[in-house]
Amino acid sequence: MIDTDILVVGAGPAGLSAAAEAARHGARVTVVDENEKPGGQLFKQIHKFFGSRRHRAGVRGFDIGYALLDEVKSLGVEVMLDTVCYGIFPEGVGLVVSGKRDVLVEPRRIVLATGASENPLCFPGWTLPGVVGAGAVQTMINVHRVPVGERVLMVGSGNVGLIVSYQLLQSGAQVVGIVEALPKVGGYGVHAAKVRRAGVPIYTSHTVVSALPNSDNTRVKAAVIARLDENMSPIPGTEKELDVDTIAIAVGLTPMTELAFIAGAAFTYSGLLGGHIPLHDEDLMTTVEGLYVAGDVSGVEEASTALEEGRLAGVAAAASLGKIPEVEAEEKKREIRESLRDLRTGPFGDARARAKEEIVNEMAKRRGKRSA
């Protein structure tokens, strides 16, 4: 049995910063992650992060990961890698360590910081070798340093599609184009401009209609793309066939909420934030007492917001255990919420701010009903 005050599931930016904040205030914290390396998404990110200086913007993703890890270690947090959390039960939290040891933990608080998983896209040929998720591409080229292919079509122009395209170019692959179903580029203009000036065309209002196989059906040989009309249907006669051996899919992420579901948390829906999301309050606590969510699992956003949400959940969880005097805790939470509000402004952030607010309001309404 592992004895700990707070169990954090997921060692990405949200989980690590939650752990650091709680440990700083004297809570005993254990972080588990299924990977052999901590850092979550950060370790795949070789580019310099945007964001605020306070969130280490301008620093490369993996360097942010190393810094966070040093911080939690120096605060005495136990980080258990290669450890899967497979369920949350009335008797405790189930972990499998190194694929073989089943361990039950009874923490007093749980912070879920499990991140998000990639959405698939189904089109004829999508099961052919050579059709891969953009996240998998990153793991291959940036972590394991193996090429995915020579000529790549990227599907999706959100920040993930744009950044992974750029990293593919850096790795020596040719990116023949980026298709985007919407009439405008989804990600930040600065990321789009980087790949554009290298010569990558961005086909807005286009989608991939099929992947064509090579003669022995072992690999993608070409992608067929087509222009979309206002109803998002391909316009016959606008097809283009692109010679590619790889089609990378970057069409959004879905919060990995299974553990919250199993624990019995109530859910709400936000298309903008990635789908079904555990309802949570201003402290990021779900409808299950003592169960918190932070980072992409509470709505897909960015590393900078994940770091702040992690801090918020860490402070809230530690405060609920009496580790932080109430006045001080409230002051801290207020400061973090302000910084989150600041990060959620501008044309990209405003809508997210509203979506997040709606979740908190729905939670408040639900509580009101309960107590009424």
Partner: protein, 282 residues
């Protein structure tokens, strides 16, 4: 247009506060911040040792350049994670000079001839590398200063080194043939797999929905879609979308699939062993 095409037109640049102004450009070397969207980002502000860049109190403000304070030192170029800052000098009589960030290999050498590309990646002519800085403070972003043909200082934003083509260019693109359509693809969309773990096709799922399986769980019970190794993490969203399409309802109205532990595949022997594993296994 930035939103549609992914790059800024000159007219768009002239309207943002990161543009130093034609007058300043005509008389001095100065930084230009091609950052036109209110994104949460601000490292440029602290990067400038002369206080020439201001973002201000709201992190999403557009960065503004003060051309009078800017000396064109180039410190800010490698600090911008968006690689959106350039220093340009249009004052030389026989060429313009552009300083830009460069994050590809091989790096060019001083004196080397390189191809000059514009914001769309189109070739504009050739230039010569005047200087390249790989200072430690730049954290692996090289800063390259290139002499470009006179009149192109506001156009050149990338270089091609040793002829290495970065993007796929447009070679290998086949437009629709005269007859119209290209071969549609390897398979009938109906035979396409939606759940690849359990090999369930689109047709089987649609049929299940039409027979009344209108939740992800009901489709799963009827077709096994989502019962495989990935636990529905792959197909779940597609199945919800198909249900929504068939019912003519928004996806938000389709309840999430129920999840059961273990959320990841776990070998049964792990549970059998319990917590008391022999010492040699620890």
């Amino acid at each position: 247009m930035l939103e549609r095409d992914g790059y800024l037109e000159i007219e768009e640049i002239e309207r943002i506060p990161g543009f130093p102004g034609r007058e300043a450009l005509s008389r001095k070397k100065v930084a230009i911040l091609e950052c036109a969207q209110e994104i949460p980002c601000d490292p440029c502000e602290a990067a400038c040792p002369r206080g020439a860049i201001t973002v201000g109190s709201r992190i999403t403000n557009l960065p503004a350049i003060d051309p009078e304070r800017c000396t064109g030192c180039g410190t800010c170029v490698a600090r911008c994670p968006g690689l959106a800052i350039f220093v340009i000098d249009l004052t030389k009589p026989d060429h313009d000079v552009v300083t830009m960030p460069y994050e590809y290999l091989p790096l060019p050498e001083a004196g080397q001839e390189v191809a000059c590309l514009d914001r769309r990646g189109a070739m504009l002519g050739s230039g010569r590398v005047k200087r390249i800085s790989t200072a430690k403070a730049n954290d692996r972003t090289a800063v390259v200063t290139v002499e470009v043909p006179k009149g192109l200082g506001m156009e050149v934003r990338a270089i091609r080194v040793n002829g290495r083509v970065l993007a796929g260019e447009l070679e290998g693109v086949k437009e629709p043939s005269k007859e119209g359509l290209l071969p549609q693809g390897p398979e009938d969309p109906d035979d396409m797999l939606i759940c690849r773990c359990e090999e369930v096709t689109r047709k089987e799922i649609i049929e299940a929905i039409r027979e009344g399986a209108v939740t992800v769980d009901a489709v799963k019970r009827r077709t096994r879609a989502g019962m495989g190794l990935c636990q529905g993490r792959n197909c779940g969203k597609t199945v919800s979308r198909l249900i929504a399409e068939e019912l003519g309802k928004p996806v938000s109205s389709v309840p999430p699939a129920s999840k059961r532990p273990p959320v990841r595949p776990v070998k049964l022997s792990v549970f059998a062993a319990g917590e008391d594993v022999p010492d040699d296994d620890k």
